[in-house]
């Protein structure tokens, strides 16, 4: 398997194997320092809609907050109203011709009638009829030099982002010249700036922390970071590392330690060329996993989901799997001080489909083992920190 397939597989694994379920009423943290209440939001959907969307994005206007998700079966963008709790309409994307959208990786709504779409080789803006109103090819040329192995990327753990400069789009970037099993892969830049006017690409001075750059091994599938942006500052978390890397606008990097109280054992390094499908999966079960970050601009809180390490083998013919890992969420203030860690219920959430609005932290209830999963409802729990 090549690196891109491993990347996709890592993301798929994480996407489908996430945890937790919850009481629907008032609750409070176990640590008791930051209380919250939680409410369930159910959006009825017809048979053409999905119970989980990836990629997705949020658009907030003065009137409403919209959830926009990619429906891969229909090749459409489905729009939902989060306040009215209903499905609104679909933007059908073309499959052929000049308006075709291929290899859709992520979306960034600039307005309801102008959604930025990132494909593998093109950025475009589509209107609500699915027509392209703007497009620009992605030519992997950095500082005038061509790098065919570089790929711009975006996904739920690393959303595209426009900062204070309206013509600069921030994306993740990987150099697929090297396999993710090789040490060199972990020295590459992680973030790129794409100039929407002239298509120029520049790389930001951020790469993997030193733990990933060791000679002796790698961390298997636990290798792709999550990122949020607060203004022009990027905040990164890496799956097995209990700290945040903060890339400041001037290029300096700060490190903030944020260890979960359920981080009871560190991840082991796998042999550099490990490709055994059993050991790779067991490694994911036994390792701590700092998963996706979510920024709440209304309460100025940062959420970091954490999947705790658990034993792989329980007894004969009885094993834990990734979907059994307990889920919690670390809650930090805007200065990245750890305020609390909320224990979330098991086998309910797909925590990578999480976002914050003025109502709180939404987490999609679509864990593959969730007993309440139904095809006719898009369900979220909304955690509202009392802060």
């Amino acid at each position: 398997m090549n690196t891109r397939i491993y990347l996709l597989f890592s993301i798929e694994c994480a996407f489908f194997l996430l945890i937790s379920c919850s009481s629907n009423e008032e609750s409070s943290t176990l640590l008791g320092t930051l209380n919250y209440n939680v409410k369930e939001v159910c959006i009825p959907v017809d048979s053409a809609r999905l119970s989980a969307y990836k990629p997705f994005s949020i658009y907030e206007s003065e009137l409403d907050t919209f959830f926009i998700g990619y429906n891969k079966h229909l090749h459409s963008l489905d729009l939902f109203s989060l306040s009215k709790k209903n499905f609104l309409y679909s933007v059908f994307l073309e499959k052929d011709g000049p308006d075709a959208v291929k290899e859709l990786m992520d979306i960034l709504p600039l307005g309801l009638d102008s959604i930025l779409v990132l494909g593998e080789h093109e950025l475009c803006v589509i209107d609500r009829n699915g027509n392209k109103t703007w497009k620009k090819g992605i030519n992997m040329s950095v500082y005038g030099k061509s790098f065919d192995s570089l790929r711009l990327y975006a996904e739920t753990k690393f959303k595209p982002f426009i900062g204070s400069k309206p013509n600069i789009l921030h994306l993740e970037v990987y150099d697929f010249l090297h396999s993710f099993k090789s040490r060199e892969f972990y020295f590459g830049n992680l973030e790129a700036r794409f100039n929407l006017e002239n298509g120029r690409i520049s790389l930001l001075p951020i790469s993997y922390p030193k733990e990933y750059q060791v000679i002796t091994g790698n961390y298997g599938f636990l290798n792709f970071p999550s990122r949020i942006n607060i203004g022009d500052t990027s905040v990164y978390v890496f799956p097995v590392i209990p700290r945040l890397l903060v890339l400041l606008p001037d290029g300096k990097i700060n490190e903030i330690h944020i260890k979960s109280r359920f981080h009871t054992s560190d991840a082991e390094l796998l042999p550099r060329k490990e490709d055994d499908p059993i050991r790779l999966m067991a490694h994911m079960v036994k390792s701590p996993f700092y998963d996706n970050l979510v920024y709440d601009p209304y309460k100025e809180l940062i959420y970091c989901f954490f999947l705790a390490p658990i034993p792989y083998k329980i007894k004969d013919n009885s094993f834990n799997t990734f979907g059994d890992k307990p889920l919690s969420v670390l809650v930090l203030d805007k200065n990245l001080n750890l305020l609390d860690e909320w224990v979330l219920p098991q086998k309910t959430y797909t925590n990578q489909i999480a976002f914050a609005t003025s109502r709180g932290l939404y987490i999609l209830k679509s864990h593959y083992k969730y007993q309440g999963l139904t095809a006719d409802t898009l369900k979220f729990d909304v955690y509202n920190a009392i802060y």
Binding site: C13, F16, M281, Y312, K313, N317, S318, F319, G323
Partner: protein, 154 residues
């Protein structure tokens, strides 16, 4: 002379151990138990099984389905065990109705309890409650897998 004999015995022993180690599938016991207990398959008989992981990446699943397609035979097609619902594989099965009689879908995720969540699809040849042959269905393994399937006249 005695020294040479001793060395010869040791080398032979190490050779046997090495051969056994390379052919032994680490989760053999669990896999056999799983097939016995969840699907009541007659694992004492000679069985060919494609063990497909749901929600794998598209490329991996296409590779597995290509292999099955290549060795699809009305008389002696292998069993297919699919770990959970997977729209792509279900769609493929729908257009191969003859295969449905030998296809098992683990809709309740029992395979995970037996430690059988892998990152790749796998082919097995079982015989007398032992795994006689196994191969991950990956690009690197295709030659080995095809060679075996041809040899077995599947």
């Amino acid at each position: 002379m005695l020294y040479i004999k001793k060395v010869s015995v040791i080398i032979t022993f190490l050779g046997i151990v090495a051969c056994n180690n390379t052919s032994k599938f680490p989760m053999e016991k669990e896999f056999i138990c799983y097939l016995d207990e969840v699907f009541n398959l007659e694992t004492e008989k000679s069985l060919y099984i494609f063990f497909l992981q749901s929600k794998s990446c598209g490329s991996c699943t296409n590779s597995a389905l290509n292999v099955i397609n290549d060795f699809y035979n009305q008389n002696s097609y292998p069993y297919i065990v699919l770990t959970g619902e997977d729209p792509r594989i279900s769609k493929w099965l729908a257009v191969h109705p003859n295969l449905l009689t030998k296809a098992f879908i683990d809709t309740t995720w029992q395979f995970e309890k037996y430690g059988l969540r892998f990152s790749d699809h796998c082919f097995f040849h079982l015989d007398n409650k032992k795994i006689r042959f196994s191969a991950w269905i990956t690009e690197n393994n295709m030659d080995k897998l095809y060679e075996y399937l041809v040899k077995e006249n599947i």
